[in-house]
């Protein structure tokens, strides 16, 4: 495990009092760093919406995002079990879990995942969401990786709740709703960019996120400007050669995200 990146990540995940703090960017750090630091190939994150639903708020790849969504749509899967019980949920061989999750297990295998670990985002009695770690190979996540993964989820949870107590009792709810609307804007921007460049949603997301990093902007601000038409897309198109969607329609492997510029 990369010790320097680990310490850097803990700093990032406690850095919520900065001006311009954005829940979406913050939770993307959590999913990206989980993939970089732990022996997992993808990560997805669900948060509880006061409307009474869980919502997919961040994911390290489109495949992980779709699998999180699949759990919600089918009301079944490790992330939901984890959220409902507040306990970690592990499946080391999804091919053998068809009885436990008749719809989720086959879908996860089809998406190329063989094992999963779901970690609660929890402080005492309050469970605010769950972090799902997906592995391409069967087998248990090493105990050290589970501990670090849970520590990252804990620090992120405390930071989000701490935000609330520090500033205003209403702040977390305001930020969560703003984040959920940002999530919608990002999906709208992905659609627009995917159509303009003829790429798939995963590539569109990677392009948007790379561009946000390079220009040191919030992903949601860039996405809004792009959908509004106030920001031209030419720079985005130029930053990567045009790629057509593969004939099989399968998402390409997402490259590992690089370190985020510190502001």
């Amino acid at each position: 495990m990369d010790g320097e990146l680990l310490s850097e990540t803990f700093v990032e995940l406690t850095d919520t009092l900065v001006v311009g703090f954005d829940v979406i960017d913050f939770l993307h750090v959590l999913t990206d760093r989980s993939v970089q630091l732990l022996d997992v190939s993808a990560a997805g994150l669900l948060l509880a919406d006061p409307r009474g639903e869980l919502r997919v708020v961040a994911a390290s790849s489109e495949a992980a995002r779709l699998l999180e969504l699949f759990q919600l749509q089918n009301d079944q899967g490790p992330c939901l079990d984890c959220f409902r019980t507040g306990q970690t949920v592990q499946a080391t061989d999804l091919a053998a879990e068809v009885q436990r999750w008749p719809r989720f297990a086959p879908a996860a295998c089809r998406a190329g995942f063989a094992a999963v670990q779901a970690l609660p985002m929890r402080l005492r009695e309050q469970v605010i969401g769950a972090l799902n770690l997906f592995r391409a190979d069967a087998g248990a996540l090493a105990p050290a990786d589970i501990r670090v993964g849970q520590a990252l989820a804990d620090v992120a949870t405390i930071s989000l709740l701490h935000e609330r107590s520090m500033r205003h009792s209403d702040t977390l709810n305001e930020q969560l709703q703003t984040a959920l609307n940002s999530r919608v804007i990002i999906e709208q921007a992905k659609g627009k960019l995917a159509e303009r460049l003829g790429v798939d949603m995963d590539q569109a997301f990677t392009l948007l996120r790379d561009r946000a990093r390079v220009s040191n902007r919030r992903l949601s601000d860039l996405a809004r400007a792009f959908v509004d038409g106030t920001e031209a897309v030419t720079g985005l198109a130029a930053s990567r050669p045009q790629q057509r969607l593969p004939a099989d329609g399968k998402p390409r492997q997402q490259p590992r995200p690089g370190p985020r510029p510190r502001s």
Binding site: G52, Q177, I185, G191
Partner: protein, 251 residues
């Protein structure tokens, strides 16, 4: 229970419309929210795009004052909610933070009789339909349950306002589910949002118009919005600029 809250709230909004004796409108969501969320009053501002909009409904005199005050001053939870895209929940207008944040609005609202103000921007991503505001005579935060209800009233008002805009523009009543209930976007929303973004390019229109066309196509072809969105995202269906939607390939 997943899904039960939107249905319960839709029933309250439809009941309000029945009492009034008219077709369900966003104003009914505003009125029904007052009882359900246990607030003193509510206001609804309808706005298309970035325009300031107009006050569509107020439930009492104080709500009217609060709406007017914020539009005149350009200061208050309403303008802040419009800027951030998320709700602004000011549970005590007397506290230091509220007064620092809104030096003119907070004291004026207190004088008008409001101690807590909760404002919900009515939007779907970049698509804006207006703002719904609630106020209470007494200070204190919304409970989790009231907040959840208020958010769903706001979601309902958003879709009803967009439908009303469509009708005003001569589009078919689109996106409605059985009994006129707006489609429940929650579980399939990412595909719907992605498809809407794709249509801005396919049709060369802005995002609000793209969402209108998406719903009009679903309505005209008797398809669930989420199914249609999935076909568009998978590039099984393309829409074309006028003279009218046409379908390529097979479903």
């Amino acid at each position: 229970m997943i899904g039960s809250r939107p249905a319960r709230i839709w029933a309250l909004v439809a009941e309000q419309a029945a009492v009034r004796g008219g077709r369900v409108s966003a104003a009914d969501a505003c009125v029904a929210a007052v009882t359900a969320v246990e607030v003193t009053g509510a206001w609804l501002i309808a706005a298309r795009g970035a325009e300031a909009g107009h006050v569509m409904r107020v439930t009492d005199e104080v709500s009217g004052l609060l709406a007017e005050l914020q539009m005149t001053l350009g200061e208050g939870p309403g303008p802040d909610a419009a800027a951030s895209g998320g709700p602004v929940l000011a549970s005590d207008l007397d506290d230091g933070e509220a007064v620092r944040r809104w030096p003119v609005f907070a004291p004026a609202a207190r004088q008008a009789g409001a101690s807590a103000v909760f404002v919900f921007p009515l939007r779907i991503g970049v698509i804006r339909a207006g703002v719904m505001g609630l106020y209470r005579k007494r200070p204190g935060p919304l409970s989790d349950s009231h907040l959840g209800d208020a958010l769903v009233f706001a979601d309902t008002a958003t879709l009803l306002l967009l439908e009303a805009q469509d009708q005003a523009a001569g589009e078919a009543a689109a996106g409605s589910g059985p009994g006129g209930q707006p489609a429940d976007l929650a579980l399939h929303r990412a595909e719907i949002d992605q498809a809407t973004g794709m249509l801005t390019e396919q049709l060369g229109v802005d995002i609000t118009a793209a969402f209108t066309r998406l719903r009009a196509y679903a309505y005209a072809h008797d398809r669930a919005l989420s199914d249609l969105a999935r076909d568009i995202v998978a590039r099984r269906i393309r829409l074309h600029p006028d003279p009218g939607p046409r379908q390529d390939g097979q479903i």
